[in-house]
Each structure stands twice: as C-alpha cells, then as structure tokens.
C-alpha cells in the first residue's frame, strides 16, 4: 500500500507534465442575423464586424481571463427562425446575443431572449417599437424615425411636391415606421403622397411592375424602405424605363450591396442614416483599414456597429466576470464606451443618441451631404 501511495503522486505529476494546461472556458456570445440570401449583406457584415471585435478582445486577454466565442446563427429574417435560433443559443450556453439585424426579428425574439435571461445588443435595429422600454434590449444605433422625418423635409426642400413610397413588409417593424415618418414630414411641409406601395420583397420576382406603378402615379420622386438588393433592382428598372426620377432611401439599403448591385442606376440616391461613413476619427479609420485587410472589402454600418456591439458587451461582461447573471444591469450602468464611431452611452431604456447624416452616391462612392443633430 505504502509503495502505491507514493506511486500515485508521481504518476499525477507525470500526467500534469504531459497533459497540456487546459485553457479557461470560453464565454459564448450568440450572433443573430440573416446570413443567407437577399438580406445577407446586413447579416454577413454584422457577423464579420462582431468576429473582428471578438478576435481583438481575445488577443488582449479576453473577458475576465476567459476567451470570447462567437456563435453565428441565421435567422433568415424570419420571426419563427429567429425564435428557434435564440432558443438554440440559450441551449448552447450563450450569455448574450449580438443582433438581430432587422427590426421585424428583433420585435419577435426580444421577449423570448428575456425569458431565457439573455441580454440582446443589436447593431442595426432602429425601430421605435423597442424604444422607451425597461427590458433586456440594447442597441448601439439610434432610433431611426428622426432620419426619415429629416429626409421628408429635405425632399420638400429639394422642390418636390409629389412623392410615392415603397415599403417592404418583410421588415414591417422598421419599414412602415420609416415610410410613415417620411410622409408625415413631407406632407406637413406641403407635399402630396402620389402612391403608397406596400409589398413583400421576398416574394417579388420582378421589379418592373413596381417601376411601372411608380411612373403611373406621376410621382416626382420615390421614397423607399427596401433592402439594398431590392432597391438596386428597382432603381435599375426605373432607369431602364428611361425615368430620371430622384430616389430617397432609408438606412436599410445603405450598404456596399447598393453599389455592387445598383451600379450607375444607384447614382444620386439620397439616404438618411445614423452612421458617419466619412468619420475622421483615428479609431474608425483604423477599424476600416483592419476590416478591409481581414475580409477583403470595406465595412458598412452593419460591420461597424457589429464591432461596437461586441465592444460594449465585453465591457459589461467584464463586470459580471463573464456571467449572464447581472449582465442587463451591468449594461444599463455601463457609462460611456469608446466605440469606433465615437463615444456611446445607453440611456435608461438601452438606447443611444448619436448624430445622423444625409448621404448620396457619386461615382460608386457614398458622399456625405450634411450632418444633423438628434
């Protein structure tokens, strides 16, 4: 017995020498967005931005000594798929969710995430439907209704009197509110609604009939709350019909896809967005350079805000030692965080205030027209 009792510690020592030290358990963060199909520009860029932030944080030692692990899930911009993805993330030990990327899914999954005790930090959801609520939902993008109103006033100031709107009901929580705020501001300034076209982008096989309806309405301009690919297709059909009709757009289409898919037809589209594409901050310029070097293309607002969402979450997780318990409270009391677009701070409802901008496309590049304050 005596010999065995001496043998065991030696064997244990040998085992310790031979077995490499196990790294600490990772803290799992879920990512939720449309990663396939026509809306994948938002989801893929958001996921890539979040992945870059995770890599940076892990290179700097992780959160409370734990590495972060990002688990991307595809919600297909579908409420049912979104809820299933949140459930799966909860089962796989996620402590929080970065996402969703579209308002429709955010409104659908927020209660379920709350029931599972998951904090949700969205990079791009700007619907007012989730504003002013004391819940588990946070976002690094400001609420979007003010952008749409500003564009409605601008459209009137540009001398236009008849405007038609096109709204994608696949993301109704965002698009309907954008169209309503645009039209309210436009008509309040003396403008007239020429047509109100509501459709489901996913079911739209051709955009030529929409272009025909717009032209038949004798609208002098169009306001679109569509995704980048859909707006690009509509713009191309409008140009093909020979119409030089000005297009105003919500932030939804403000990604590289509008340049890639729209080409010259997208030239001159005016956007309102709560994001500064030409931000001169060294932190943003550095982020843009590193993102391009890492993924081979320029980041959009979805990528930048995806990065910021993980930054914010990591700081709050540092306070909870990587645990989900107390994370919502930690986010609420976080104080100012230095994001790549500038400092951001959650208010009591988990929302942020940031300046917003009007942009246009010139020579396949986004150009800032003016900065506006909320």
């Amino acid at each position: 017995m005596g010999s065995l009792s001496r043998l065991f510690p030696m064997l244990a020592l040998a085992t310790l020498l031979l077995v490499p030290a196990c790294s600490s358990e990772p803290v799992v963060i879920g990512f939720l967005g449309p990663l396939e199909g026509r809306l994948s520009d938002l989801g893929v860029q958001g996921r890539n931005g979040a992945a870059l932030a995770v890599e940076d944080i892990n290179a700097a030692g992780g959160v409370a000594g734990h590495p972060l692990l990002l688990r991307p899930m595809n919600d297909a911009n579908d409420e049912t798929e979104g809820r299933a993805a949140v459930r799966a993330l909860g089962q796989r030990g996620a402590v929080a969710v970065v996402g969703p990327m579209t308002s429709a899914v955010a409104v659908a999954v927020q209660p379920q995430a709350a029931a599972l005790g998951l904090a949700v930090v969205s990079p791009t959801v700007s619907t007012a439907m989730l504003s002013g609520r004391d819940d588990n939902f946070f976002r690094v993008i400001p609420t979007g209704s003010v952008w749409a109103s500003s564009l409605g006033r601008q459209c009137r100031a540009d001398g236009l009197t008849r405007v038609a709107t096109v709204c994608d009901l696949d993301n109704a929580a965002f698009a309907l509110s954008q169209v309503e705020h645009f039209m309210a501001a436009f008509t309040a300034a003396g403008g007239v609604e020429a047509a109100d076209i509501r459709l489901h982008g996913a079911r739209q096989r051709s955009w030529s009939d929409v272009a025909e309806r717009l032209l038949a309405s004798r609208a002098e301009a169009v306001y679109a709350a569509l995704s980048a690919r859909d707006l690009a297709l509509l713009a191309r059909d409008l140009r093909l019909s020979g119409a030089e009709i000005p297009i105003y757009s919500s932030m939804w289409a403000f990604t590289q896809e509008i340049l890639q898919a729209g080409g010259r037809s997208a030239e001159g589209i005016v956007f309102a967005a709560g994001y500064d594409e030409g931000n001169p901050l060294p932190a943003f310029q550095d982020f843009k350079r590193r993102y391009r070097n890492r993924f081979g293309h320029a980041p959009s607002f979805a990528a930048s805000y995806g990065y910021e969402a993980v930054q914010v979450l990591a700081q709050a997780l540092g306070r909870t030692r990587g645990n989900a318990d107390g994370l919502v409270q930690a986010l609420k009391t976080l104080g100012p965080v230095q994001g790549v677009q500038g400092p951001l701070r959650f208010d009591a409802w988990g929302d942020v205030q940031r300046p917003y901008y009007h942009f246009t496309i010139r020579d396949q590049t986004f150009v800032t027209l003016r900065e506006l304050q909320p």
Binding site: R6, L7, S40, G263, G296
Partner: protein, 218 residues
C-alpha cells in the same frame, strides 16, 4: 535490537519501482509524442503536396475560364453577330463552368446577355482596385439572378470591351470534391486570399459567406 534489513524484494517494491516508473512513463510518453509528431509531419507533408496540386488545378481551372472569356471577346470583336456569339457561348457553357455570360461595351454597358437578359444597363459589379488589369476575379458574392453565391470573372481587351462570366461554384465544388478521399475524412476547402469560403463540402458555409481567415491554418 538489530533492525531487520529490508529484503531486496521489499526495496524493489517500495523504492526502485516507483522511481523507475516515472522515467519509464516519461520515456514512453516521449516515444509516443515522437511517433505522433513523425506521423503528423508525414500527414502535413502529404497535405501540403495535395494543397499545392489543388492550387495548381484551381489556377488552371480559372485560367481556362478566363482564356475562354478572352476567346469570346476576340470573337465578339471580329464577328459580333448575335447568332455567332450565341453558338460560341453555348459551346462554352456546355462544360458547365459558367451560369451566365455578359458582353459589355467599353462604357461597361451590357450589350448581350446569355441566358437572355435585359441589355442596355451598365454591368454594376464593382471590381475594387482592378485598375487596368485585363483579367479580374471578383470576391465571392450573392447573385440576385441565381440566388446563390458566385464569383464573376472578367476579360477586357485593349478597346475596353469586356466579357464577364458568372462562375457556377457548385460545379467547381464538385470538381474539387473528387480529389478528397472520404475514407481518410479529407475535406477540401477553397477560400480567397482573405479566407472567404468559395468552395466547401458543407454548402451552408458557402451560402453564409463564412470567413476562415481567423484560423491559424490560414
């Protein structure tokens, strides 16, 4: 009282055996590590040879595709007729390399599309940093026409006229898959220079534009 001297057997059991066991275990473990590393080195060498061969194959595949586009471009400059072009494109498409082929004028306007499309607009795809290079391959992107991930290739002649081909990545994947030996659980993955997945046996990763650039392997 004289203390009893321990027997040899007892010494072996209590002293020698435990102290011999540790170096023996370490020796065995070292031997195992050495053998495993030798085997791993062999696998790595084999893998790098296979990867080099595959890279050459993909290069040839893409060179063949751009040569074909160049041939079409020259034919377009010489003949130009829709019928001649359609026959040439059909012959090219018979090897299933391309989903779509577009003929562009020097102003980047689509003059012909195969299968038939709606000419008259510019070809919108932006090739960042392409400069004046003749042959360009785009990054992987979602095609609104086919609803799948794709890569565009372009051949441009001196006059600025171009032929653009939309690659069928499924076809490329099928070709690459033939090199993998399922019995050895081999997986062949093709990415661009940034780790963006172009071909992968798990098609979901292609559809989701997965990026493997963060893996130590890449």
């Amino acid at each position: 009282m004289i203390a009893r001297r321990p027997s040899l057997r007892s010494l072996m059991r209590t002293r020698l055996l435990p102290w011999m066991a540790v170096p023996l275990i370490l020796l065995l473990a070292g031997l195992c590590v050495f053998l495993a590393r030798s085997r791993l080195d062999g696998v790595r060498e084999q893998d790098s040879l296979l990867a080099a061969s595959l890279a050459r194959y993909v290069e040839n595949y893409l060179e063949g595709a751009t040569s074909a586009l160049g041939y079409l471009n020259r034919l377009h400059a010489l003949a130009g007729g829709r019928t001649t072009m359609a026959a040439a494109v059909r012959s090219l498409q018979s090897d299933l390399r391309f989903e779509r082929i577009l003929l562009l004028d020097a102003d980047n306007i689509v003059t012909e599309a195969f299968p038939a499309g709606r000419p008259g607009l510019d070809f919108p795809l932006y090739f960042p940093g392409s400069g004046e290079r003749t042959n360009i391959i785009s990054q992987p992107l979602f095609s609104a026409e086919t609803g799948a991930m794709t890569i565009f290739m372009r051949h441009r002649d001196e006059s600025g006229r171009s032929v653009v081909g939309e690659l069928d990545l499924g076809h490329l994947q099928k070709h690459l898959g033939q090199f993998a030996r399922p019995s050895l659980a081999e997986v062949i993955i093709l990415t661009d220079a940034y780790g963006n997945v172009i071909a992968h046996p798990d098609e979901e990763l292609v559809r989701r534009q997965a990026n493997l650039g963060g893996l130590p392997l890449l």
